[in-house]
Structure formats: C-alpha cells, structure tokens
Amino acid sequence: MNEFKISFRESGKIHVMELKGYLDAHTAPNLEEAFQKLVNAKKFNILVNCKDLAYISSAGLGVFMAFIEDIRTSGGDIKMSNMTPKVYNIFDLLGFPMLYEIFSDEHEAVKKFDAKKQSSK
C-alpha cells in the first residue's frame, strides 16, 4: 500500500501542511480530515507544501475543491508550493492553476499571504 503522510507546522500566522507520498482515492479522506481540523480551529491561511507529494489523483484534488469556497469566504486561502513537475502537470491538466495560487517556493507563498494581510489592514 502506498503511504501518505501529512505534517503540520506554523510559519508566522500561516499554517503549513506538508504532504508526503501518494494522495489518491484511498488517502483522500486523510487530507479531508486534516483540512477539517484546521477549519474547525479557524485556521484559514493554509499553505500546502507539496515537496514530497509523489502523486495526486482527482479524488485528492477534490478535497481542495471541497474546502476552498468556505475558506475564502472566511477570509483565508489555500495556496500551494514546491510541486514536482509531475504533480504540477496533474494540477494543470485539471485547470487548478486558474483557481489556486501555486508557487515554486514556500517563501514566496508566505510572502504573498503576508502581503495580503498588510494590504487588508
């Protein structure tokens, strides 16, 4: 069985989720649970670092869809970073770059979050 792991850390006020392994139909519920946890704790600024994400399937992408509207309505966002070309290709094929900001590096994403906070002040 292919493994999938999620770890959490904070970068300033940004909640970073690191995904590792295979995010497919089988492991998608784990990601759902992780998002639900953050949303329940009112942590809406979420950055998903995909450095070690080896594969993502439609079911995995669906989890992002399930949360994005609620999170944006609450003033937060889901941004992503550090995707391998293979993973990015799947995101791209399904039109996700039009919906989500995807950064090559985590720092850029954090900066973008911070910039938005500054401007909203």
Binding site: S58, A59, G60, F64, L94, L99
Partner: protein, 583 residues
Amino acid sequence: MHKGTCIVNRSRSSTKINHLADVTPLFEFSRVVNSSLDVKFILGTVLLTLMGKLLLSKSVVLLKSRDKHFRIENSKGIPAGLASEEMFLPRVPKKSFALSNGRTTPTTQLFKSGIVQMFPIVSHDVVLGFFGIGRRAGDRKLSVTEKAFVEAIISISAAAIEKGIAFHEIKNVNRALDEKVQELRTLFELSKEFNSIFDREKLLKLFTFTLMGQVGASRYAVCLRDGETVSSRVDTKSLAEFKNVMFENISSPILVSDFQRKKILISLRERCASQGIVALIPLQVQNEVRGMLCLGDRLRGGVYSMADLEFIYSLGNLAIISLENTRLFYETVEKQRMENELNIAREIQKGLLPRSLPVIKGLDVAVLNISSKQVGGDYYDVIALENGNYAIAIGDVSGKGTPASLLMANVQATIRTLVHFNLPLSEMTMRVNHLICENTGNDKFITFFWGILDPRTRVFRYVNAGHNHPFVVRSTGSIERLKEGGIILGVMKAAAPYHEGSIQLSSGDVVVMFTDGISEAMNKEGVDYTEERVEQFLRNLAPSSAQGILENIQNEIARYTSGAPQSDDITLVVMKCVVINER
C-alpha cells in the same frame, strides 16, 4: 535563410551597399524567428521588424483558421475590435495584393483601419496567412528593394510560423491526450477503490471528491431514488420537491440550460438555477435511473462539454453500481445473520423438548411438535415425579426466534425445578408467573397449561394459564374443556390467584392438548381452522391409540392447510387412558 540569400542576390542589381546593409538584419532576423516555436512571438517579431524597417505605424497579421477563413492574430495600430472576426476570402491569393475601398469584401474593414497592402505567408505552396502593412509616413510607395525585403522577411518567417503552428497543435493534441489519460486513470482508480469499500457513506464521499477534483466543481447534490441525499452547498430540501420530475424526465446527462421544451422542466430549471445547479446526470444501474447527480458549475468558469458530461456519467454509473453492490452485500449479510439466529433458536428449542417420553402405566401418550420456518416458542414437557405422579405441560411463548426460545428455556428450567417441590399446582403456577414477570418485559408472555396425573387414581389436577383449552373426549363421546386457572404468565405479577381444576379420567378417555398452531392453521384462503372445527373433528373420531389419534389430527390439519405455508409452530399432546391390564 536560404531563400533570404537568394533574394539578396536578386537585389544585387540595385546597389551593392544596400545589399550588404540588408544582409545583416536579415540574418539576425532569421536567427531570432527560427530559434522560437512560439507563433505569437514570431508574428510579433515580424510585425515589429517590418514596421521598423519601413517606418509603418500600422500592421496586421492574419492566420488561416479553416479553409478560406482567416483570423487576425496580432496587429499594431489598428482597433482591437476587428480581431475577433473571421474573414472569408473566396479566392486565396498567393501573391501580394493592394487593398481598396471599393468592394464589400471582408478586407474592406482592414482597409478602413489603414492597411493598404497584403503579403501572403506561403510555405510548401500553402497560404498560412497574410501580413498586412499600413500606409507609410508621407504616403511613400514601397521601392522594389523594400518590397523584396518584405517578401524576404515573410518568406523566412513562413517556415518558422509553420513549425510553430505544428508545434502548438501537437501541444494541444498532447494535452487533450493527457486529459484523456487522466480521465481513464481516475476511472481506473475509482473502480479499484470502489471494489474495496463497503461503506455507503465512504463510497459517496469518494465519488464526490473525485468528481470535484476532476471537473473543478464545488457544488453538487447526489439524490438517490431510495431517499438518501448527499450534497455540498445545495439546499436538498428545495431540490427534493422536484425529485419525481427529475427521475421521470431525465434519462441521459443534460445541461440545465438545454431543457426548455417541456413545461414541467421549466420550473425544474428555475429551481436548479436557484441552487446553482447547471447539469443533471442520471446514475443508472441496468438502464434504471437509481440516482441523480445535480452538478454545480465549475469554479474556474466554462461550460461543461458533452464529453465532460459523458465522463461524469460513466463515473456516476460506476459509483451507483458500487452503491447497489454494497446494498446487496449488506442484505446478504443480514439474511445470513438472521438465518444463523434462526438456526440457534431451532437448536435451543429442540434441546428443550423431551427426547423421549416416560412410559406411564395405564396411560398412552403421543406428542407432535413441528417448527414453522420462523421458529416460534411452542413448548411441551412430560416429567416423571418422585411420588409416582407425572407432570404434563404445554405452552406457547409469544414472539419468535432466539428471544422466544430463550424465554422458553427459562420457563422450562423453572418448571423442572419447581415441580419437584410438591407444592399445590396453583401456587407453583403463581411462582412461575412471578419469575417470568421479573425476568421479561411486558411484551413477552406465555400461554401455559399444565397438570399432574396420578396414574393410580387417574385424577388429573391442572391449571390453565390462558392457554387454548384442552379437550377431554370421554369414552362415552361427550367432550369437556379444561378451563380452570387464571391469567397468562408474564403479564401481571399481582394477578388473582390461579385456580386449580381437577377431573377424574377413566379408561378410553382422551385428553388432547394443543397450541394455536392447530386452531389457527390457515388454509389457502387465509381462513383459520378454529377450535370449533377441532371439536367437531374430535367428536367424530374413530377409536384409536394416542398415536393414531394424533396422526389423524395431523392429517386433518395437513388436508385443511394443503397449499398454504405453515404459519406457526404446531404442538399436540394426546393422552389416552387405557385399561391397565392391557399393557
């Protein structure tokens, strides 16, 4: 590059200095456009080069969109509004031509925008498109050299443009292919995953996640025909009102905007629109619509194509089949569980009934117990007491299956213990009642009849606790019923005391005890056999042994119920007093 040199050679006749001056930019230009596969970039470079060289303020490039049709790809200095229109050229010239105002050709628009001359882009004898140039500063005409330069530039760029277009097309084809591969991968992954999930909720969740990920929607509702609805950001109650309309009218995937023919669908369309639903996709198992997927629009915008809907349709059918399989699986499991429980109940019940009957002097006893398929709680017992008497009991526990069997086991244990205390029958009955009241809920009760026979005196003392009154068929032919007793067991603790009845039996008398499986045996028409019929039958009974009588009754019931399923347990206890010295 090659062609460029050729043209430069031709212009040698004008001036040598010009020729040298022209070669360097041409060479540079060739290097730039040929190193790119980006059509946009190439076209832009050509336009800027022409404008810079010829001092133009307007230029345009058209590319072929389909046969004899061209579309503006890039332009400088003319209104952007023209760009979206496709231009039809009935004749596609392969040589440069001047534009004019006269005819009402599509190119007139270009002329009005200030474009005066068009140059075809030809590669392998095919016109890929046209470059158009505007009026020059001071309205100067192109010199021969300048025209040659323009043609050289276009000629050099033609190959690069063709290459770029091909590359772009291949990229598109590749992407379309990648998308198909992704769709197939999704279908494959789901079918694999669906096979290992037997949880309805999980299955639906997985389906909706995959759906959302694949098509980029965040709003949906899955209405199942058998009631359940899962949804995201949709008011399902509002949709539920239209459930029947949906299920009756939608049998293939459809965009909500596409149904307007039927009146009833118009109100459905409005309801869908109010919930942000843009497409309805039926979920089918063997051509039967079992569910409806109501799908919201894509977050990134864009309408679902028929191909999208077809894909979602296959995805949905995969899901509904798995749901159906899950249901069947649980049904089978439940059936098996019930079957197991019944088997346990049967085992318990069988174990409780006496395996053999004691031989009683002067008394011929025969018993019959047939369990129905459901397993009820019929009970009978014949117990030899130490004082030489015999206790004979019959009862019917309410309910069926394991609970009834367990209660019956309880009753049996109680009776078998109490009976040896040699207390008055009425008191023992009261104690049994107490015990059962304490150990069961109000919904459980037992109709019970028992008696103690002294084989020496042939006195039969009995208590009837709400059981069907046994028959006593005297040797003289008269019939009595054993009614003395009290309330059924297990209902009221503080009931009035049980009364004991007593009869004197003599040779040839027959006592027939039975459960309602006999009196309520149903024929095909659903009519009970009734106690009246039992009595009538016993009245006309030919003299026979206890076993013979029992078999006669059994045959009579079988005859009566022929063709109808056995509805309840049947229990019969027949005692016949015989002359003692006969045995």
